[in-house]
């Protein structure tokens, strides 16, 4: 698996898109830090960008990489390699190279800004950790979609729909339910609702750490009340891990049953 991982990683590191992605974060980091001297505001803006953009890029890259390397995957399948190691290697290659672009792109400007002397280092690290989680989750979901759909156009369509649903539509439906059933106790429902969407979960996680109650919203407030800040952080991080592990298991399972 490590060999496949190595080759997928190098393959992506050489592609133009990794640099574009890296350069984008570099620019974003520089602009936010040096043109606007308030660090906590910069972190919040970054959070808003990361929470929408990272899942989108993870989904698109994951689907694109799978379909583009299809013939090559077939070449690998005829070699004495286990199926699970081929697909896990490719998945980790994509997810790690995307996370690298994110971490380096945002990390470099922060180091120049003097991050290590600042008190915001934990907020910032948490932001990068969440971004990495989101990359791993959405790349895994994208691989799942691509494995289940032979048709490229369909695969892309489902992937974009998934992103749109989790990033935008889910919130809308969630809010509507909360309004419609406002006469009932909704704590449990909103807790579960937050856990079932990795994007909401990440948002809550970061806002809990930043401790900005005005931005927490209803679900965040319930989350904080229910778990408390520290336990809340642990619960949400473990939920994010579950969100990584489940789709990865399905990749292995699907890959074993598929005809190529």
């Amino acid at each position: 698996m490590l060999k496949i991982l190595k080759y997928s990683f190098y393959d992506l590191m050489r592609s133009r898109w990794s640099y574009v992605y890296f350069a984008f974060y570099l620019l974003l980091g520089v602009v936010l830090l040096f043109l606007n001297n308030d660090l906590s505001k910069a972190v919040i803006t970054l959070m808003n960008v990361i929470i929408v953009l990272v899942p989108l890029i993870g989904t698109i890259f994951g689907v694109m990489y799978y379909y583009n390397s299809k013939e090559f995957t077939e070449l690998l399948l005829a070699q004495p390699l286990k199926r699970s190691s081929i697909f896990l290697g490719q998945y980790l290659g994509v997810a790690i190279s995307l996370s690298m672009s994110l971490i380096l792109g945002l990390g470099i400007p922060f180091i120049f800004y003097g991050l290590f002397k600042s008190t915001a280092i934990w907020d910032f690290s948490l932001l990068l950790i969440t971004g990495t989680f989101l990359t791993f989750i959405f790349t895994a979901l994208a691989f799942n979609i691509a494995l289940s759909n032979e048709n490229k156009i369909k695969g892309f369509g489902y992937a974009i729909l998934l992103w749109l649903f989790l990033a935008i539509i889910y919130d809308g439906i969630f809010l509507m339910t909360l309004i419609m059933f406002e006469d009932y106790p909704l704590d449990k429902l909103s807790l579960i609702g937050t856990m079932l969407n990795p994007i909401d979960l990440s948002r809550t996680l970061i806002l809990l750490k930043l401790d900005i109650s005005a931005l927490l919203g209803y679900t965040g407030a319930v989350f904080k009340q229910f778990f408390g800040t520290n336990f809340g952080l642990i619960v949400s991080i473990s939920m994010l891990m579950v969100w990584v592990i489940m789709p990865v298991f399905r990749i292995v399972f699907k890959a074993k049953k598929k005809d190529f």
């Binding site: 393959d11 077939e74 070449l75 005829a78 004495p80 049953k257 190529f260």
Partner: protein, 235 residues
């Protein structure tokens, strides 16, 4: 060498293989023939474990295909369509496959046999179809395995390379290897193969030498013998 019992495979509603039985003994060149869509590639992919059969048993060199991936160390496979990652160089691809499968030195001889030296530093995306096929042949033959499977090996090759390929196949045969070939070029099949396996509607219709096939169909030459099977069964 290879033994297949009662192999069934369905893709959706399309029954491709229905109860195929085949035994291939060690040594010699076997040509798998059949009309388009008769299941040649599916059969080969089942052997390689790329397609999972609905029913039936396959064993290669005494090892059941279902249980492991290590039996593929003993198989060299040439895929029908060679599409490699386009931003890799030829040299890098060869190095990478060696890294994945184990070291070998035969690749140098094969590169000079097919005159690929000038292309080693070129990216695979910029190569012509024929050159890609030559790279594909190098990747296939460089591991010296006892079973070689070639899916349409002649596609895109120029006449000189075709002669070199035929020599190469004969050389491998003298080492006692088993070689499975599918091809639609009948003259090529007639020239190289010792035995014919003819697939029709997901079953083996005929297995034997070319002379036996000619006798069975009462046709003077090989191409007409094949054509007569097809017309008898489809007209």
């Amino acid at each position: 060498m290879v033994s297949i019992q009662d192999l069934h495979k369905k893709f959706g509603k399309n029954q491709v293989l229905s109860g195929l039985n085949l035994d291939i003994s060690e040594g010699g060149i076997f040509a798998v023939l059949g009309p388009n869509g008769s299941g040649k590639t599916t059969l080969i992919k089942c052997l390689l474990g790329m397609v999972l059969p609905n029913k039936g048993n396959i064993s290669v060199l005494g090892e059941n295909v279902k249980n492991s991936s290590s039996y593929r160390h003993k198989i060299d496979y040439l895929p029908q369509i060679a599409n490699f990652p386009s931003n890799l160089k030829v040299k890098e691809l060869i190095k990478m496959i060696k890294d994945l499968r184990g070291n070998t030195t035969i690749d140098q001889d094969l590169i000079s046999l097919f005159k690929l030296e000038p292309f080693l530093d070129k990216k695979l995306g910029n190569l012509s179809g024929g050159t890609k096929q030559k790279v594909n042949l190098v990747l296939t033959f460089m591991f010296d395995s006892p079973l070689i499977i070639l899916d349409e090996p002649t596609s895109g090759l120029d006449p000189i390379s075709l002669i070199r390929l035929k020599d190469l196949i004969q050389k491998e045969k003298t080492k006692g290897k088993t070689i499975l070939i599918t091809s639609h070029i009948m003259s090529f099949v007639e020239e190289v193969s010792d035995e014919i396996v003819f697939l029709l509607e997901g079953k083996i219709y005929f297995k034997g030498s070319i002379t036996e096939l000619k006798n069975k169909t009462n046709q003077p030459d090989f191409e007409h013998a094949i054509a007569s099977i097809l017309t008898d069964n489809h007209a």
